[in-house]
């Protein structure tokens, strides 16, 4: 038998160090990093680093050898090499001052595309959707970045465009499930083709850009994510029967921007638009103001919204569309398979509305008027994704007070007409979203809420009571729809407290009733009782006698009391016994099991202590509050 050589098989073959990988691919480290990001290749931690590193224990990064092997024939790497040559040629041309040559070279610079890479990494659409979280968060960040030498304006512009397209899709298809406003930004969760996609959007402020952040890495990621999202969006739009890329209504883009500027049209609509383009055009120009004011609600939402429908009229809704709406609004009827045996004399029953559907049309009967102090981007998406219509104060202002300098004088703006239009529009408003400590004048018939009402309603799947969210009111806590990581539920504590309180109250009431009875029946005895308050036994006996007189069984009264008195210690004895038994059983565990068990117990204990600490803190806070109330 041949002697087996060391480090010729197993981990030593399966893993390759980074230096080796770079050498093998003949790339620079920067290019290697880029290709790793594009291809999603990541270092591994082998089970035994020593074995993988052929006996050396020096700290090293390992890659899976086959990952690197596959890279050898990667077309993108070939492009990297071409780019290297190109850069050399260009620098030479520039050095020689050969401008035309340099220009020609630059025009024909080697370009690569990552579509094949996307397809390789995500063979199916679901795979891609599953991995959208990071991509979306990154894009939304870049959309909010100030343009600088590191991040060009075009990059931010492109990112913003894609983000808006994404939001427009989510809003139109009503896929938004959760919104959580955190101190970091706003988290959204959408359910797309059955997959949960969570992304984080920063607040609309210029971002703080730390100096030690390497934007080359970030932009490499962005490059890949942009490609990924473009293709995903194309597919999603196509599946939803919408044209991609959606058109941008420049007028509206000028007003607010964001999703409201997107004219999303179904493919069929588009065809019809071509046929009757002239008529439509006229209608659109007429309705420019309306659409601007209503933002996307009219264009995006075609279902379940009679209020929006009315307003949508000038935006030229086809007859077919109206039909669609009707069918969508009605309950769905499941058609039974009409076989010979079964005569369909059973009346088809409307399906129950699932909670998801409830979310989809939670705000559908309402029109929201959004104050200019409210961040429109957050609120708009949340409202439209729940079927509501949006009218923004800032847009209306822009419409009513057009800066006359910008408009050529030839076009006389009929402000009165506009005012009339706006007034008509404002009549439909049911809710006003307001984020001010107080409001000078309120319009009767409107419900005034703070923005959190919309988020909480969406997260709970039902409309929250409005009074808690009134203007100037102290808001109830905004809880994460994903709950507390360690199993503490503030609401549960609240409920438990309420139950306790109510129980106590009930008990008190009972006692009061009892006493009343007693007073009625034997007032004299009562007096005596008071006198002999110290002698418990005598009192007890007396009560028993009274009870007997009233016809109450002796056992029932005593057992009740005993139960009350003994319940706690009895339980604790049992618990003690159980605990003791557990301790004893632990003796028979093996060492390994014992260690594992103790580790688990440590984690559980930690969670429990945190939970307890939070509970006690809450009780303390509540006590303080009550105390304060009493003092006041």
């Amino acid at each position: 038998m041949r002697i087996k050589k060391k480090h010729q098989a197993g981990a030593a073959k399966n893993f390759i160090t980074r230096t080796q990988a770079v050498k093998k691919l003949q790339l620079s480290l920067a290019d290697f990093r880029r290709i790793c990001i594009f291809k999603g290749i990541y270092p591994r931690a082998p089970r035994s680093a020593k074995k993988a590193n052929k006996g050396s224990t020096a700290p090293t990064t390992f890659y899976y050898t086959k990952d690197i092997q596959y890279l050898l024939h990667e077309p993108v790497i070939q492009k990297f090499r071409e780019h290297k040559i190109f850069a050399r040629k260009l620098s030479r041309a520039l050095g020689r001052g050969d401008v035309s040559d340099a220009k020609r070279l630059d025009e024909n610079r080697p370009r690569y595309r990552l579509d094949k890479v996307v397809k390789e990494r995500y063979p199916t659409l679901l795979d891609a959707i599953r991995d959208l979280d990071d991509a979306l968060s990154m894009l939304f960040l870049f959309a909010a970045m100030p343009a600088s030498d590191k991040v060009t304006a075009r990059v931010t512009e492109d990112a913003e465009k894609l983000c808006s397209q994404w939001m427009a899709y989510v809003a139109r298809e009503r896929l938004l499930r959760k919104v959580f406003v955190s101190i970091k930004g706003v988290y959204y969760e959408a359910e797309i083709k059955g997959q949960e996609v969570v992304w984080l959007v920063p607040f609309k402020f210029p971002q703080n850009v730390p100096t030690d952040v390497d934007f080359r890495i970030m932009s490499t990621f962005l490059e890949f994510y942009t490609t990924l999202i473009q293709f995903v969006l194309y597919r999603l739009y196509t599946d939803a029967g919408i044209v991609y890329p959606p058109k941008i209504d420049s007028a509206r883009a000028h007003g607010v921007g964001g999703i409201s500027a997107y004219v999303i049209e179904s493919k069929r609509e588009k065809e019809s638009l071509i046929d009757t383009s002239n008529a439509e055009k006229a209608a659109i120009t007429e309705s420019e103001m309306v659409s601007r004011a209503q933002t996307i609600s009219t264009v995006l939402n075609k279902a379940n919204n009679p209020a929006a429908e009315d307003k949508a009229e000038p935006v030229a809704v086809d007859g077919d569309d109206v039909d669609e709406e009707v069918t969508e609004t009605l309950d769905k009827f499941t058609a039974l398979p009409s076989t010979d045996k079964v005569i369909s004399d059973i009346i088809p029953q409307p399906e129950d509305i699932s909670p998801e559907d409830a979310i989809k049309s939670l705000l559908s009967p309402f029109t929201f008027y959004i104050g200019r102090e409210v961040p429109l981007d957050i609120v708009e998406l949340a409202i439209i994704a729940q079927g509501g219509a949006v009218i923004s104060e800032s847009v209306l202002d822009g419409y009513l007070h057009v800066d006359t300098d910008a408009v050529p004088e030839a076009e006389e703006v009929d402000f009165d007409a506009r005012q009339r239009e706006v007034d008509a529009l404002l009549k439909k408003v049911t809710h006003q979203v307001c984020d001010r400590p107080a409001l000078a004048s309120k319009v009767p018939g409107r419900i005034y809420v703070q923005p959190q009402w919309i988020f909480d309603s969406l997260n709970r799947g039902r409309l929250m009571p409005v009074d808690e969210y009134a203007i100037g009111a102290t808001l109830p806590p905004h809880l994460s729809p994903w709950g507390d990581g360690a199993g503490y539920d503030p609401e549960e504590v609240e409920k438990a407290d309420e139950v306790e309180e109510s129980e106590e109250e009930e008990e008190e009431e009972e006692e009061v009733e009892d006493e009343e009875d007693e007073v009625e029946e034997t007032a004299e005895v009562e007096v005596e009782e008071e006198d002999e308050g110290e002698e418990d036994d005598a009192l007890q006996h007396q009560r028993e006698l009274e009870a007997e007189a009233r016809g109450i069984m002796y056992s029932s009264t005593t057992s009740k009391k005993r139960k009350r008195g003994n319940e706690k210690p009895k339980k604790s004895v049992e618990q003690k016994q159980a605990e003791e038994e557990k301790e004893l059983r632990k003796i028979m565990m093996t060492n390994k099991q014992k260690k594992l068990y103790n580790q688990m117990q440590y984690g559980i204990q930690k969670k429990e202590t945190r939970k307890e600490a939070l509970k006690t803190k809450r009780r303390k806070l509540e006590k303080n509050k009550q105390h304060k109330k009493r003092v006041l």
Binding site: Y42, T124, I183, I217, R235, E581, L584, M588, Y597, K617
Partner: protein, 834 residues
């Protein structure tokens, strides 16, 4: 000259005033400003005026040159001024634009500055001399006008310089160097000079009349009439110094080439010739100082004429008239590329993103496949929790202490990278400072962090607990302490129950053996056996029911007692048994054995002891730690750990005989015990439990409990299972049929295990430890050989207090009931009942 200049200055001043009135332009303002700024240099101001429109000045001067007399010159000057006026007018027009005004004035002032700086530089042109003389006059004037008024000067010099200017101008005209005049590029007359004739006399190198004093300063000759010597050694006389009048005259009538300087070498006035002045001027301007003709005649080095005879007779190469193959090749390449569409001429510029079409990447609709085994997907970001909310419940908000600790910890060590905050409304929420950094760190994690698949156990921790029958189903077993036997002073080291189960014997550090009634806890009998207060290490009742013998060891002695608690019959029988052996060894023992040194000595006790009920005292060599009876009650073993090969002794009561079964030392012996029913002796040393067959006198087995130091062991009543306890907190169960290694090793005591015991009838065993606890177990041994023994922990008995880190020292089961006796270091013995 100076006079002329002054006149000019005056005139220009007037003119400028006039122009000021006429157009009121900025320029005149500026002029007055500059005049104001340099009141002592009115001339300078005039110069400025001239310099501002420099070309006008030049122009004027050229005109001046062309003129023949002074009058015309003056007229020309007037012309010049008028030209200047014109210019002024133009300038005004230019400046009148309000926006340009500042710029223009800026430029002007810049130019002014330049001209100010270059004021010392004489104006170039052909009329050098006059200019130069003007300058010189200026110098002189400056030197004279220390404290005189300028107005005076003005009046003074205007008179004198008038006449002088004429002569100087005429001298200008008879300049012989000028050959003729031509028309220049500007249409003006341009003087053409004679060619320089390099004849012999031009060289004056041999004329040497210079002073030859060398480095000697001229001041050395101040007292002499001469100032040095010429080359021939003759004195050079000091030139006559003129009177003050002379010098005044000199200053007025400046001779030609006068500089006002004194030649150091000759002591005379330093006069410079015109050529020399020109040279100085040229050097100052940085021009070519030598005699270089800038307008040389062209020499046709490469003539345009074709020679009749070519230089080379070689025939013209073919490549000159055949089209280039290489070029054709290159062109064809391009043509081909165009045809192939690789080169698109006049391709419109498109953004790279736009030209790439977006299509349905997943059109093939593949079925979802299992990802590769080695693929480890990146973990998703953790979902935000309640405490990240902008408006969290108040209990999440950190206390001041928590905030402080958070700030103190290193950012890398923080559990969460943010502190919960509460904002009253959405509009007050600021930006999150670390947003970019967090995303960046996430990116780094995605491509840089080594990934490893970790299986997370999602099991109920209770499922790890072994499934055992409930202790409730395995009753009876001792649960509580029912009797405590108090009386011993100091630790109770030994405890034993008599075979009837009525009497409990204990021994302790107070050197007494006491007997108690089990049920009442009453002390019935007491004997202080130990000499010198040696602790009673061991107390054991003989298993023979009818004898009532109690063996106790203290120090090196073993006492066999007959406590007076039984009926007479039993007592008599016991006395007979003990008395029978007296002198047996001497009578029956083989001679050699008698001769041989006996391991022990059986003696009669002292009267004191006899009165206490002790009948026999066996004297050993070392401290006896443990006694164990054979089941019949005739033999017993004693263990004295330091006894080397005599550590284990077997004593026979009936014959008063002692044997040492081992010839060699087996190490420090801890315990020794007889098999419950077979002639087998178990001996526990520090590490091993050795099993000796007494009938064959051989070692059958050596158990390895794996402990460092065994403290005790016990044999199951059926003989094939052994439990050991060790000082390193372990209790092991050995199944003798299985292996020499333990079947189970249990670690549950927190301190050393002191004693382990099997119940003789029930399947119970227990262990006592220095932590003060006694653990009671159920241990079923099945008849079926394939089934392993079942061990069930039943109860932890807590009652003994730990004194000086010693807890329970000895335990003993009741012979019939599930009762347990324990002796503790706290000076009590306890009975634990079910």
């Amino acid at each position: 000259m100076a006079k002329r200049k002054l006149a000019r200055a005056k005139k220009s001043a007037e003119k400028s005033q006039a122009s000021e009135q006429s157009n009121g332009c900025r320029k005149s303002d500026r002029l007055t400003q500059t005049i104001g700024a340099f009141p002592q240099h009115i001339d300078d101001a005039n110069h400025e005026d001239d310099d501002e429109d420099g070309y006008i000045d030049e122009e004027a001067e050229e005109v001046q040159e062309g003129d023949s007399d002074d009058q015309s010159d003056l007229e020309a000057y007037d012309d010049e001024e008028s030209a200047g006026d014109e210019f002024d007018g133009l300038l005004d027009g230019a400046i009148s634009d309000s926006e340009d005004e500042d710029e223009a004035s800026d430029e002007m002032s810049e130019y002014d500055e330049g001209s100010d700086a270059g004021d010392a530089v004489p104006n170039f042109g052909e009329d050098d001399e006059s200019q130069e003389q003007e300058d010189l006059a200026e110098v002189i004037r400056n030197s004279l006008s220390d404290d005189d008024d300028e107005d005076e000067y003005l009046s003074k010099y205007s008179a004198t310089s008038e006449a002088e200017s004429q002569s100087s101008l005429s001298s200008d005209l008879d300049d012989s160097r000028i050959a003729y005049y031509t028309t220049g590029a500007d249409g003006k007359a341009r003087p053409i000079y004679h060619d320089i004739d390099p004849h012999y006399s031009s060289d004056d190198s041999d004329i040497e009349d210079t002073n030859t004093i060398g480095n000697v300063p001229l001041s050395a000759y101040d007292e002499y009439p001469h100032i040095g010597y010429d080359i021939n050694g003759k004195r050079i006389m000091r030139p006559a110094a003129g009177t003050a009048l002379d010098s005044l005259l000199d200053s007025i009538e400046v001779p030609e080439g006068w500089t006002g300087l004194i030649d150091k070498e000759s002591g005379a006035d330093l006069n410079l010739t015109k050529e020399e002045l020109e040279l100085v001027k040229k050097i100052q301007l940085g021009e070519n100082a030598g005699d270089v003709n800038p307008y040389e005649n062209t020499i046709e080095w490469f003539s345009s004429k074709t020679e009749v005879m070519p230089l080379s007779a070689a025939p013209e190469p073919k490549r000159r008239f055949v089209p280039s193959k290489h070029e054709a090749k290159r062109i064809m390449k391009i043509v081909k590329a165009i045809r192939d569409g690789r080169i698109v001429p006049n391709k419109p510029k498109i953004r790279p993103e736009d030209e790439l079409p977006i299509y349905d990447l997943w059109a093939d609709d593949l079925q979802e496949q299992q990802p590769h085994v080695m693929h480890i997907p990146a973990p998703k970001m953790a979902k935000p929790t309640n405490d990240e909310s902008y408006n969290p419940p108040e209990e999440y908000l950190p206390s001041e202490e928590e905030v402080r600790t958070w700030n103190r910890t290193d950012p890398a060590d923080r559990e969460k990278n943010y502190l919960p905050q509460k904002f009253s409304s959405l509009r007050t929420v600021p930006r999150y400072e670390d947003f970019v950094r967090e995303r960046f760190e996430r990116s780094l994690d995605l491509y840089l962090a080594p990934r490893v698949r970790k299986n997370k156990l999602s099991i109920d921790p209770d499922s790890l607990l072994p499934k055992l029958p409930s202790p409730q189903d395995l009753r009876p077993f001792p649960i509580k302490c029912s009797v405590t036997y108090r009386g011993h002073k100091g630790r109770v080291r030994a405890v034993s129950v008599d075979p009837s189960g009525l009497w409990l014997a204990t021994g302790g550090d107070d050197a007494t053996v006491r007997i108690w009634e089990v049920l009442t806890g009453r002390e019935i009998w007491k004997a202080s056996v130990g000499d010198d207060n040696e602790a009673v290490q061991s107390v054991e009742w003989s298993p023979a029911r009818d004898s009532g013998i109690l063996a106790a060891s203290a120090g090196e002695k073993i006492f066999l007692c007959l406590p007076p608690i039984f009926d007479d019959e039993t007592e008599v029988k016991g006395q007979e048994l003990l008395a029978a052996g007296w002198g047996y060894a001497a009578q029956h023992g083989p001679a050699e054995q008698v001769n041989k040194e006996q391991p022990c000595k059986w003696t009669k006790p002292s009267t004191n002891l006899t009165s206490q009920g002790v009948d026999v005292v066996i004297m050993c060599r070392q401290t006896v730690k443990q006694i164990a009876w054979h089941r019949r009650g005739d033999y017993f073993t004693s263990v004295s750990p330091e006894g080397a090969n005599m550590a284990v002794l077997v004593h026979q009561v009936s014959k008063h005989n002692t044997q040492s079964p081992f010839r060699k030392s087996k190490g420090i012996v801890q315990r020794a015990q007889f098999h419950p029913f077979k002639p087998i002796l178990y001996v526990a040393t520090q590490r091993y439990v050795r099993i000796y067959d007494l009938s064959t006198q051989s070692l059958t087995k050596a158990l390895q409990p794996g402990a460092r130091w065994l403290s005790s062991f016990d044999i199951h009543p059926r003989g094939d299972n052994v439990i050991t306890g060790s000082y390193d907190k372990r209790v092991t169960w050995h199944d003798l049929d299985l292996s020499t290694k333990p079947y189970r090793t249990l670690r549950y005591h927190s301190r050393a295990v002191r004693d382990v015991r099997f119940h003789s009838r029930l399947s119970l065993f227990c262990s006592a430890s220095d932590d003060g606890y006694i653990n009671v177990f159920h241990g079923t041994v099945y008849d079926d050989l394939l089934r392993n023994p079942l061990l069930v922990p039943l109860k932890v008995l807590k009652g003994h207090t730990v004194v000086q880190s010693l807890g329970v020292l000895k335990v003993e089961w009741h012979p019939k009931e599930a009762w347990l006796f324990s002796a503790g270091a706290d000076g009590t013995a306890k009975l634990w009942t079910s």
